[in-house]
């Protein structure tokens, strides 16, 4: 531990050289900006900005890349809060809690909460990376396919907690999400499924056009048809940073939950393949059950506690994903897979020997994360007044602009016109389903989680020669399954207890 601390100090001294500091700042600012663009998101953002680093020295290049990466995590929340268009899948829950706050004129507070919680979550993730990174990576390796399948199943079943009064509708939404994710090539057998002869469907439905349509374009339809009154859809909130800030009491009340959700996020983040979405979602669900302010959460009015839970978990997970990347050479998410490409382009070989062979590089990167996190917080807070001014734009002007951004964002994802048509169809269908009380959030969450779930279930069955008991024989997997069973049965049990109480 002490040796790690000394190495960190050495890394910090390298990271604070003016050149590296500038690289970190530019990376962070660009990352925030690109992350905030609807439809671009962290993966595309990192990929698009990767070539910028090619003209730099390796340490500065990687520092800049890391800055882009966690800047993206900060920025992903902005479009979710302001426009109801999540930049990336973990930000789906941020949109659920943050956008209702924007409609109540509290966008500034939501943005401040997102920045504050991102900072706390990111910091806890970096501390974990510094202190116990290699050790955690070894624990992560104990998560084989059965454990990962059960963990994802737990995440899928916890969607049930968001279903509200009619569980049927939530289940319909969950099943629809899984079924949409089934379209395209089956990752296990390379068979094509549910393509109905269309070449466009061979690679499946992309996440970005789907989410842009479901959250962005359906929002435009709501605006213009009176579901959201056009002139009242976006209220002008308080414009200065000072007035957007949380009170000292609120920040103190957020800290324990930030710590909890960051630990959950960091833990899930370092599991290869689990990613920020699972962590953000599970942390949010956990807070909806145990938080003192759980009644405010749920998306009707929006809550700083909901925004905070998602953002701290997401940022901790995004840093946590560096643990398997650096220690084992396994990318924990698709964005870290892009970073892996960047590292390899510089001749670095992430893996168990990286910390021994390239200590300067590793510790400079970790050191720059501390600095980058502070820089992102400062920049994130500084742009709040400008973002708030954006909210002064009346909704009837905003609606066509959002439509254009939806079209451009959907196209930018894969440079395909099919993606744009997908966005349109997703928006119209979501609008119709919402009118029938079928929520859109479970659709998108199950769409994101289902491929991992299916892949891991089939891998687990493969290694056990089709023995379904494998999920019960592994202790970690059994724990997650029991937890999932409790989540599924709890609503019925609570109902029964309440009925008995009334009977008495």
């Amino acid at each position: 531990m002490l040796a790690n601390f000394q190495s960190l100090l050495m890394g910090l001294s390298t990271a604070v050289t003016p050149y590296n500091l500038l690289a970190c700042l530019i990376g962070g600012v660009l990352g925030i900006f690109v992350g905030a663009l609807p439809g671009v998101g962290a993966v595309a953002g990192c990929s698009l900005l990767l070539p910028i680093t090619y003209k730099m020295n390796p340490v500065a290049a990687i520092i800049m890349l890391a800055g882009i990466y966690y800047g993206n995590m900060y920025g992903g929340a902005y479009s979710a809060i302001l426009l109801n268009i999540p930049g990336d899948s973990p930000a789906v829950m941020t949109a659920v809690e943050g956008y209702p706050m924007t409609r109540r004129g509290l966008a500034g507070r939501a943005l401040f909460t997102a920045n504050f919680s991102s900072f706390v979550g990111g910091s806890i993730g970096i501390i974990c990376l510094t202190m116990v990174g290699p050790l955690l990576a070894q624990i992560g390796l104990k998560f084989g396919p059965p454990e990962m399948a059960s963990l994802t199943f737990l995440a899928l079943t916890s969607i049930g907690w968001m279903l509200g009064d009619d569980p049927k509708k939530g289940l319909i939404a969950t099943a629809l999400g899984v079924m949409i994710s089934n379209i395209g090539m089956d990752a296990s057998s390379a068979n094509f499924r549910y393509t109905f002869g269309s070449t466009n469907l061979l690679s499946g439905i992309s996440f970005i056009p789907l989410v842009v349509g479901m959250f962005g374009f359906s929002q435009v339809l709501n605006m213009v048809t009176g579901g959201t009154k056009v002139d009242e859809s976006v209220h002008v909130g308080k414009l200065s940073l000072k007035e957007s800030m949380l009170t000292k009491k609120e920040m103190i009340s957020l800290l324990p939950q930030c710590l909890r959700t960051s630990l959950v996020g960091g833990f899930i983040g370092f599991l290869p393949g689990a990613g920020g979405t699972t962590s953000a979602f599970l942390a949010y669900m956990m807070e909806r059950k145990i938080n003192k302010h759980r009644d405010e959460m749920g998306g009707k009015t929006g809550s700083i506690y909901g925004v905070s839970a998602v953002e701290s978990a997401n940022n901790a997970a995004s840093v946590g994903a560096f643990i398997p990347l650096l220690s084992l050479g396994i990318p924990g998410s698709s964005t870290t897979a892009v970073l892996l490409g960047g590292l390899m382009a510089w001749g670095l070989k992430p893996g168990p020997l990286l910390f021994q062979q390239e200590p300067d590089f590793c510790w400079s990167l970790i050191g720059s994360m501390y600095i980058g996190n502070v820089l992102c917080l400062i920049f994130g807070l500084a742009v709040i007044p400008f973002l708030m001014k954006l909210m002064k734009v009346p909704a009837n002007i905003l609606a066509p602009i959002i439509t254009v951004v939806c079209i451009v964002g959907a196209y930018a994802d894969s440079n395909s016109m099919f993606a744009v048509w997908t966005m349109l169809v997703a928006g119209v269908i979501t609008f119709m389903l919402q009118k029938k009380g079928i929520p859109s959030t479970p659709i998108i969450l199950s769409f994101v989680l289902a491929p991992t779930f299916e892949l891991k279930v089939r891998q687990a069955l493969e290694i056990s020669n089709c023995n379904l008991l494998i999920f019960l024989q592994k202790p970690i997997s059994l724990f997650f399954l029991l937890f999932a069973a409790a989540m599924l049965l709890a609503p019925a049990a609570i109902k029964l207890v309440n009925r008995n109480k009334k009977g008495v």
């Binding site: 099943a175 609606a399 439509t403 951004v405 451009v408 279930v457 069955l461």
Partner: protein
């Protein structure tokens, strides 16, 4: 109520199609090896089927109760409002127009024409104001997505 019925029927058909392909075309199980490509889709199509059937039964019950109590069965057009209907579909038409513009003309004409047309036709804004808004947004979108991020948009311009 009638639209609920239609939705349930559509979902049942979707679940049946998904399940049929899953069971008969993709296959559920490769004995001794693993689950096949149709396993997970079939499981979730069954979930959808059960929920949709329950939803259908519930809706039919409500319809019957409404009929038995002498209450009029809801007219599907009772909540129909022409202005809202036109507004909703004009937005979809604007979006389709935008997509076609992007495909055949390019990014700049799409942005400008969509926003300018929307301002004039939907918002009834004056010509100059509409022009200015459309021009400013088009320049911003062009600078970010085309000039900076170099996304290869289709079309002529």
């Amino acid at each position: 109520m009638v639209s609920d019925l239609i939705l349930s029927v559509i979902l049942i058909i979707l679940a049946l199609v998904w399940g049929y392909i899953g069971i008969f075309q993709l296959g559920l199980w490769i004995p001794g090896v693993s689950a096949d490509s149709g396993f997970i889709p079939t499981v979730f199509s069954v979930v959808l089927l059960i929920c949709a059937v329950l939803s259908l039964v519930q809706t039919l019950k409500k319809l019957r109760e409404g009929g038995a109590e002498g209450g009029a069965v809801e007219n599907p057009l009772s909540n129909f409002e022409l202005p809202a209907f036109i507004r909703k579909y004009s937005v979809v038409l604007f979006c389709i127009f935008g997509i076609l513009c992007l495909q055949y003309l390019g990014l700049v004409p799409m942005c400008f024409l969509l926003i300018f047309g929307w301002m004039i036709l939907m918002n009834r804004f004056p010509l100059v104001r509409s022009f200015l808004i459309a021009a400013i947004v088009t320049v911003c979108i062009y600078l970010i997505f085309d000039f900076w991020l170099k996304i290869p948009f289709p079309g002529l311009f």
